[in-house]
């Protein structure tokens, strides 16, 4: 393979991986705190895509983007309040089923409101501008996706390690009940977690859909699953791990497509999951957790 073709594929892979990484962080944070696989996260990401379509219809892009971010945050926090909070003391099975119910609801609602036909995603001219570096050519979105991802992850890690809310978040994920006894307002911290996760999913959705061009009610389902796998790969609960997992998946998938096995690029993710669970079940950066009696 030509070196420039190879680099071109690498660029695509890293860009896809960046979007995956942003979504994976939402999964890893929620799982770290609630031990819940938030099945609805992929659909929040899909809804963010639709929000953008409607926001851009009436506003210029620099106003539309903040609107999308805020709307997605509201959606994420609302879902937590309505569907997960009442089940705080219920068996874990119930809250997992509730998460699936939300995902089912969002997909059906999107089908009902926006029809099942794919809708064109608005192109933001600035993001679509083509750059040429030697033999490589890439649109701005491809180039800035990994940069945005890295910056956001860096800021997030700083916040988690140094801010008060971040410290509380770490405490809650270590031990839910003790944190509560220490006077941490659990519900507030969980809401913040969902807000951060949804914000990153919204950024991810803008970057992802600008490349894909269309949104349809199920376009969040498979990316959502893959990003959960990315979070497991990196070690669930670890933010740098989720980012790394996202990049690994993005690169691996692009490599398979480049080699002509595009049918199996989705299967690759789950083979990777099973292999990882066999070799290193805690993921790349995960801590070993023992079951408490």
């Amino acid at each position: 393979m030509d070196i420039s073709v190879f680099l071109q594929h690498c660029l695509t892979g890293i860009s896809l991986g960046g979007a995956y990484a942003l979504i994976a962080i939402g999964y890893t944070m929620v799982y770290g705190i609630l031990r819940l696989i938030n099945f609805a996260h992929g659909d929040i990401f899909m809804m963010a895509g639709y929000f953008m379509i409607f926001a851009i219809a009436s506003f210029p892009w620099y106003i539309a983007i903040p609107i999308v971010l805020i709307a997605t945050i509201i959606l994420g926090v609302l879902i937590e309040r309505v569907a997960y909070k009442p089940l705080r003391n219920a068996p874990r099975m119930s809250i997992m089923i509730s998460a699936i119910g939300v995902s089912y609801l969002l997909q059906n609602l999107a089908t009902y409101l926006f029809t099942a036909l794919p809708r064109g995603y608005p192109t933001i001219p600035l993001l679509k501008k083509i750059f040429e570096i030697g033999p490589l050519s890439a649109s701005l979105v491809t180039l800035i996706t990994p940069v945005i991802t890295l910056v956001l992850v860096y800021v997030l890690i700083l916040l988690i390690n140094h801010s008060k809310a971040g410290m509380a978040m770490r405490a809650v994920s270590k031990d839910f009940e003790t944190a509560q006894l220490m006077g941490i307002r659990i519900n507030q911290i969980i809401s913040i977690t969902f807000a951060v996760g949804s914000l990153l999913a919204a950024v991810g959705s803008i970057l992802y859909f600008t490349d894909r061009m269309t949104v349809f009610p199920f376009s969040g389902a498979l990316p959502g699953l893959k990003c959960f796998v990315a979070a497991v790969l990196g070690g669930i609960g670890s933010i740098p791990g989720a980012m790394l997992g996202g990049f690994v998946l993005g690169l691996g998938e692009t490599a398979l497509v480049a080699m002509g096995y595009s049918t199996f690029s989705d299967a690759f993710t789950f083979v990777l999951l099973i292999l990882m669970l066999l070799i290193k079940p805690t993921g790349l950066f995960g801590e070993k957790v023992t079951d408490k009696v």
Binding site: R35, I37, A83, P86, L87, A90, M93, S94, M96, I97, S98, I100, G101, V102, Y104, L105, N108, L109, T111, Y112, T115, A116, A221, L222, L225, K226, F228, V229, V232, T263, F264, D266, A267, T269, F270, L273, I274, L277, L278, P281, D291, V293
Partner: protein, 368 residues
């Protein structure tokens, strides 16, 4: 409280069985008139198998699998490929032809169903064993991902000569008589009930209640989890095969994740951990899906169109029902109890006494 003796219960059970048989015979005799009703009942029976299989896994063992659609697809395609009459095959595979090895391979329905179940169980083992060895949390994701992949693989051009790719399979021969589905469903559910009531079943329940404690009591966690998962996959595959025969034509779109969610709704509505609940749930939901079709059509009352009613509204209602059950009515219809004549008797008794108590109360109000 008065309890029924064994003999009364036996008589009631026999009476119920006879009533069901008579109903089926009546429907069979007037097949042309009731074909719609028969189709609903058959679909319900097929869903009952997969719902009980899912309940065995989710409600009785506490493992969460979301791969039902995928395992049903395996069973369905196995049965379809092996039972389409050999002389019809060229017309079904009219685009790419059929693989040489399969061109003349043909099995009777019962053998194809078992083979489909075994294949589903085998694939289930491949996925389940590595995942279950570690954290069963990931089972849901791994199986959900699997069921999406199996759809992609079925529709892949590389398998055109086996699965007919995206064109789907048709001309699947129908059941010999309308009893077939019900007999097979009855047998499958009976086997699952026997498993759940055996010592293995008690081990499953122990795992559901507390894994660590169960392990301390000497239950081999991995062995039992793997076993229940594989058994559940087997019956899911069988019901997929039945669905293929029932629908007469299938393609990869039949087995979307939505199918899994429908089954989950049935299990949750019926009650996690109740077999009779799952059976009642499957008949209820399947019938409701048909009755509620009017939600999808524009509704016009006195020349005024009610705005909400249009295509897709029914599914929104279904998802809201699922959410409402999980949030406010977590036990479902049956909770973790099973149907029993005593239970029915007590229920009627309570209902009657409540009515009786209410009536004088109302009269008293009137006097005031």
């Amino acid at each position: 409280m008065m309890k029924m003796n064994k003999r009364t219960k036996l008589i009631l059970t026999i009476a119920l069985a006879v009533a069901v048989m008579l109903l089926l015979a009546y429907l069979d005799a007037n097949r042309a008139q009731y074909s719609y009703g028969i189709a609903i009942l058959q679909r319900s029976a097929i869903y009952a198998i997969v719902a009980v299989a899912m309940n065995m896994l989710t409600g009785f063992t506490g493992l969460f699998s979301l791969g039902q659609a995928g395992f049903m697809a395996i069973g369905a395609y196995t049965v379809a490929i092996l039972t389409i009459p050999v002389e019809d095959r060229p017309s079904v595979y009219y685009i790419n032809g059929i693989a040489d090895a399969l061109a003349n391979a043909s099995l009777p329905l019962w053998a194809a169903l078992i083979l489909g179940g075994l294949l589903a169980a085998f694939v289930g083992g491949l996925i389940g064993i590595p995942v279950l060895r570690l954290k069963s949390d990931y089972l849901a994701i791994a199986t959900l991902g699997f069921s999406e992949i199996i759809r992609a693989v079925i529709a892949a051009p590389q398998l055109d000569r086996i699965t007919n790719g995206s064109y789907g399979l048709k001309s699947i021969p129908n059941f010999g008589s309308i009893y077939d589905v019900f007999i097979i469903a009855f047998l499958c559910i009976l086997v699952m009930i026997l498993i759940i009531n055996s010592s293995y079943g008690r081990a499953f329940k122990a795992i559901r209640e507390d894994e660590v404690a169960a392990e301390a009591m000497g239950i081999n966690l991995f062995k039992h989890k793997g076993m229940v998962f594989i058994i559940s996959c087997f019956f899911t595959g069988v019901s997929g095969g039945l669905l293929a025969v029932f629908m007469r034509s299938i393609d990869s779109k039949t087995f979307q994740v939505m199918l899994t969610y429908d089954i989950l709704l049935i299990v949750v509505l019926g009650g996690l951990g109740s077999i009779t609940g799952s059976i009642i749930g499957s008949f209820l939901i399947t019938a409701a899906r048909e009755w509620l079709r009017f939600f999808d059509n524009p509704l016009i009352i006195a020349g005024f169109q009610i705005p909400l009613f249009r295509s897709g509204f029914r599914m929104v209602i279904f998802s809201l029902v699922l959410m409402a059950i999980v949030l406010y009515y977590r036990k479902g219809i049956m909770g973790s109890k099973e149907f029993s004549w005593d239970g029915l008797y007590r229920f009627i008794h309570r209902l009657l006494s409540r009515v009786r108590r209410k009536t004088p109360g109302k009269e008293a109000n009137h006097h005031e």
